[in-house]
């Protein structure tokens, strides 16, 4: 059990709250940097995908988890980023520049999509973003001169002034660096007035407004940042997958992204990456599990969808705070054992808390 004795306000402002944080996150970073020497090529590629989806998840987490605006068309931002990157890479633009363009274009599309968010809430915003997702998918399919339409578009490897980032190690490190930067940027935003304004809008718009928060500006900002991160993820995704077609950015992808943030744990930055791990690793586990199941079940079409759906239902029922919520419980158990009480995380008014809850 760790007791933190606070002697300065900086302890609440700093990202690392105590030595344990510094140690474990440094270790994690060191392991991730060393991953190309540790894991096989295939898993390194999966790790890159986790980082890419983590970046996109961060954006959606900021929007859905912290600002309370749900987007059912987030794959569209991913698509805008990916196609922008693909088109600019063919023209020979260096990666940092084309990446910045992908982010900027996604962000400006995000602001436009955010416009209805100023007027509608909840399920209606969901419908508006869903419709937007279909529009973008359709544009990607029809604008053949640029996107190659349904025939698809192959993407060149990433390169910076003739220096290729196409090898899987180099590309992994690129993803890692951008994921770390994106995470730091989001964490910084969340501990400054802008992040608090997002949370205020999520919890009570009317009092956020009376605190002097410009609702329209902050909602648009949230959409813009979220879309920019999705655009960044899209740019990396384009190079990673090296072949783009409109159906990669359809409703299923959007729902996958929403699944990512819900299963990861709405309202936690960790959740974006935990959700990304789930999203990438789960299909692999299902594929591995197939061989151990009777052929009737194992070889059945749609097994993955059924398992996905089942897991989602279980999460919503048993662990609404997602993987991160579960991790908090495990961590608390490890810290408190043998004094851990079952009722510790039970949602109840603090004035009703007593030892009787078992």
């Amino acid at each position: 059990m760790r007791f933190i004795f606070k002697t300065s306000y900086d302890q609440d402002i700093d990202l690392a709250k105590h030595g344990g944080h510094r140690f474990w996150y440094s270790l994690l970073l060191a392991l991730l940097v060393a991953a190309p020497w540790i894991v096989a090529e295939y898993w390194l590629s999966q790790l890159s995908f986790i980082l890419i989806y983590g970046i996109v998840g961060l954006g959606l987490m900021l929007l859905a988890g912290f600002t309370g605006l749900f987007s059912l068309g987030h794959a569209a931002f991913l698509g805008v980023g990916a196609y922008t990157e693909a088109v600019l890479a063919v023209k020979g633009w260096p990666f940092p520049l084309s990446m910045a363009c992908a982010m900027a274009l996604s962000a400006s599309v995000g602001v436009i999509v955010g416009l209805p968010a100023l007027r509608v809430k909840g399920i209606y915003l969901g419908i508006a973003t869903l419709a937007f997702g279909f529009i973008v998918e359709e544009v990607l399919a029809r604008w053949e001169s640029v996107t190659g339409g349904n025939a698809g578009l192959s993407v060149k490897g990433a390169a910076v002034f003739g220096w290729s980032l196409a090898s899987s190690e180099a590309f992994y490190w690129l993803c890692l660096a951008l994921a770390v930067l994106a995470t730091l940027a989001v964490l910084n935003l969340l501990r400054s007035p802008t992040g608090r304004a997002f949370v205020a809008i999520r919890d009570s718009e009317i009092s956020a407004q009376s605190m002097g928060i410009h609702l329209a500006r902050y909602k648009s900002l949230s959409f813009a940042i979220s879309a920019a991160l999705a655009g960044l993820g899209g740019a990396l995704y384009a190079h990673k997958i090296s072949f783009l077609s409109p159906d990669q950015f359809n409703i299923v992808q959007s729902i996958d992204l929403l699944l990512l943030v819900v299963i990861g744990g709405l309202g936690s930055v960790h959740g974006a990456f935990l959700g990304a791990i789930f999203l990438i690793v789960m299909p692999q586990l299902i594929a591995l599990g197939k061989d151990f199941l009777p052929a009737v079940i194992g070889q059945a079409a749609g097994l993955q969808a059924v398992v996905y759906g089942g897991v989602l239902i279980l999460f919503v029922l048993l662990e609404p705070m997602g993987l991160y919520g579960r991790w908090l419980k495990v961590r608390t158990w490890l810290q408190l054992v043998p004094f851990y009480r079952k009722g510790l995380f039970k949602r109840q008014k603090s004035f009703q808390k007593s030892d009787r809850v078992k």
Binding site: Y9, D10, D12, I13, A185, N188, L189, R191, S192, P193, T194, G195, R196, A197, V199, A200, R202, D203, S204, I206, S207, A208, Q209, S210, M211, G212, I213, H214, L215, L221, G267, R347, Q348, K349, S350, F351
Partner: protein
Amino acid sequence: MSASLLSASHLSVHFGGVLAVDDVSFDVRQGEVFTLIGPNGAGKTTVFNLISRIYTPTGGDIAFDGKPLLGVAPHEVAALGIARTFQNIELFEHASVLQNLLIGRHRHRVNPLWREVFFTPSVRAAERATREKVEQVIDFLDLQHYRDSLVAGLPYGVRKVVELARALASEPRLLLLDEPSSGLNVEETGDMAFWIQDIQADLGITVLMVEHDMSLVSKVSDRVLAMNQGKVLALGTPAEVQADPGVIEAYLGTAGDAASLRRVKAAKV
């Protein structure tokens, strides 16, 4: 004590056919505690919502510190130095008490977005200054014990104080309190009365409140405005207003009519 901080002249607002506020005029003087009373549906909260620009009046004018308030957008009201609480507490439920108070200081933010993204030293300095101010409010209202607890788990009485604290954290010049004692027990109401007096005396903040608890009203108010059905009934010191025949009639029915008195009393139980 004499200069007027907020003045409403001939305010009217109607929602469809309902005339919620009808030709209401009053002045809130610098440094006083001014209370709006009246039976349910009298239009008190509507007046509050007019001042915080959630509604736009259909007639009349509001001036704050000599400047017209009606051209100001709802989110800009806070920047002028007007903070408010809500009748049905509107706190940020899934944030800690400390975070709620920090949001209260939003109007004092100084750094542009890009600095926040990189969390530059100036952002850190601003955060420290914000925290210092918030700690002063926490000390003032004795909230130290609840600093890191989530609002969602707090008892009602404490939430009410947290909402007051959040409004104070913005360092307002005018504080609008919408029924500060509703839902509080006798002891908590007593504390609230002390705090309102302290806010007036120590912090020099002008208070405009809506309140039903007459003991609290007469304890803290300098002046009282009684309203009924959107109209002004009486304006004066608490004692004057309580003695006003029109006010007695609005609350209790006509003084001579014993039958109607009994009926209203029975309805109140």
